[in-house]
């Protein structure tokens, strides 16, 4: 059956990645993930800079995008006039529809120069901090995080919106009835939906981890572990995109595939966990409408 084929593809991806990376797994073992040196010429492969770059850029992107995504979700589902709702939903979804390569192109020619100017304008005392050290190149962690944030917003905001929709209206009504302001009522709804919202944010995290083209084009592609936002760094997806076709010997290729394998496993875990949270939220939201008194009412 076709469904079985779908299942088979997922398994085949895992199998194929393991098979192709065997050489690297056997040669380097766990040290692969603790070594900082990436020197294909000398046959030295350590993936630490890529893991670091991927996690650092994705977490930064989340820090930037989460409040904005939540704000959008709240605005669209709770605050905005009904006539504005559909167009806004359409526009935020358009943000997700623009191809990654177009973001990358825009990043290279518009965002990076802007970030470079911003970096150059950073006052000297701040530049002493490790977070802002290094020359203002423009390409680097800050540009990557900014572009990732823009790309992640539509995903986490649309799921948060769905989650907010599943909060029973009685929750808000009870809050209003107790004399809550709008903010307090919405906060009650957000609190009620917290599990699902964490799921929505994690779904965005999964997207950010695997994003390739736009990040490759603005992060600077330099395999160095650094805390600095200004430093050019590298991500797992970017190193595969850049070096895969150049990987001449078997070990080099296997090392790249192993990076892909780990990326696959990480995104698999993050996505499964987020689906689980969202599903759990959807399941608990419904029965509680009648079964138990809403927490806001209890407090009174």
């Amino acid at each position: 059956m076709f469904g079985a084929l779908l299942l088979a593809i997922v398994c085949a991806i895992g199998y194929e990645l393991i098979r192709q990376s065997m050489a690297s797994i056997q040669k380097f073992g766990l040290a692969f993930w603790r070594t900082e040196i990436w020197d294909p010429v000398a046959g030295q492969f350590g993936a630490l800079p890529f893991i670091w770059g991927t996690l650092y850029s994705s977490i930064l992107a989340l820090v930037i995008s989460t409040p904005i995504a939540l704000g959008i979700a709240v605005f669209i589902s709770e605050l905005c006039p009904a006539g504005l709702r559909q167009p806004l939903v359409f526009l935020t979804e358009l943000l997700a529809a623009i191809p990654s390569i177009v973001y990358g192109l825009w990043g290279i020619f518009v965002l990076v120069p802007a970030i470079r100017a911003l970096e150059a304008a950073t006052p000297e005392p701040l530049r002493q901090l490790p977070l802002f050290s290094g020359p203002p190149l423009g390409v680097g962690m800050l540009s990557a995080a900014a572009i990732l944030a823009v790309m992640v917003i539509p995903f986490s905001s649309s799921v948060s919106r769905e989650v907010l929709k599943s909060v029973p209206p009685a929750q808000r009504e009870a809050a209003y009835a107790l004399g809550a302001t709008r903010f307090e009522a919405i906060r009650a709804a957000l609190f009620y939906a917290r599990t699902g919202i964490v799921g929505a944010v994690m779904l965005g995290f999964g997207r950010a981890l695997g994003e390739t083209m736009a990040v490759t084009m603005v992060i600077g592609n330099n395999p160095k572990v650094s805390l600095s936002l200004f430093a050019p760094q590298y991500t797992m997806a970017a190193v595969i995109a850049n070096e895969f076709t150049e990987a001449a010997d078997e070990l080099y290729l296997a090392a790249l595939v192993e990076i892909g394998l780990v990326l696959f496993v990480i995104t698999l875990l993050v996505n499964s966990l987020s689906r689980l949270l969202i599903w759990w939220m959807a399941r608990t939201a419904k029965p509680s409408m009648t079964a138990e008194p809403a927490p806001a009412a209890e407090a009174a």
Partner: protein, 291 residues
Amino acid sequence: MNAPLHASPRSVMWRKVLSSAFVAFCGASVVIALVPLGFVLFFVVTQGVRAVNLAFFLQMPKPVGEAGGGMANAIVGTLLVSGLAAVMAIPIGIGSGIYMSEYSGTRVASLIRFAADTLNGVPSIVIGVFAYGVAVLPFKQFSAFAGGFALGVMMIPIIARTTEELLLLVPGSMREGALALGATRARAVCSVVVPAALPGIVTGVVLALARIAGETAPLLFTSFNNRFFTTDLRQPISTLTVQVFTYAISPYDDWHRQAWAGALVLVAIVLVCSLLARFATRRLERMHARG
């Protein structure tokens, strides 16, 4: 979280200010998100329009240093590779979608749904590595087939999930009516349920096509790139996205111009498809509301 509702008497004024600030923040975040969208579209359109002309669609890329030329080979390549992907993904996607909706609630259906969501979340670059192992290595050659395979794998879960959602919208009474008239389950699905949802499914397929036509990462080492015009599916083939990438990271101004033109074409495809889809789903919803 309930503290302000009942505990220490906080001034009403303060709570009102806080509330207005929150509302303002939500409004502002919408603006913050729409600014990049506006900027991207603005630059793509203004930069792209300067470079798009008839030659862009009809001519081949010129060597470095010669001005002009186009991306005719890449446009054809994108159409071919996306077409291959569609041929592969439509039957599998729709088949899985039907299974998930018609047997929803069974354990197998949940498992397939989980697989579809998983596949949907797999980074596109990883799918590229997978396709490289399955469709490039055994033949020792980059090919349009491999590119189509990679994009097809990405397309399956999108189609499967949209099909499922749309079939679940079809009223249960229609299924029951068909079964009551003595139709077998397969018959009821094929002649009653699927036709009712067909316009929506077609829309979903178009949207999925638009999305994968904009993919770059899985094509980098499957269909690779080709400076020449080819329709031979066993050869490496140029695509719009990979060509835009190559041009964007090159040091030549003329190539940058062409990259913007390519981006404009990609964005136009996406925009037209989303608008069409929105229009179509609107009509569909109205139809269901009436029916």
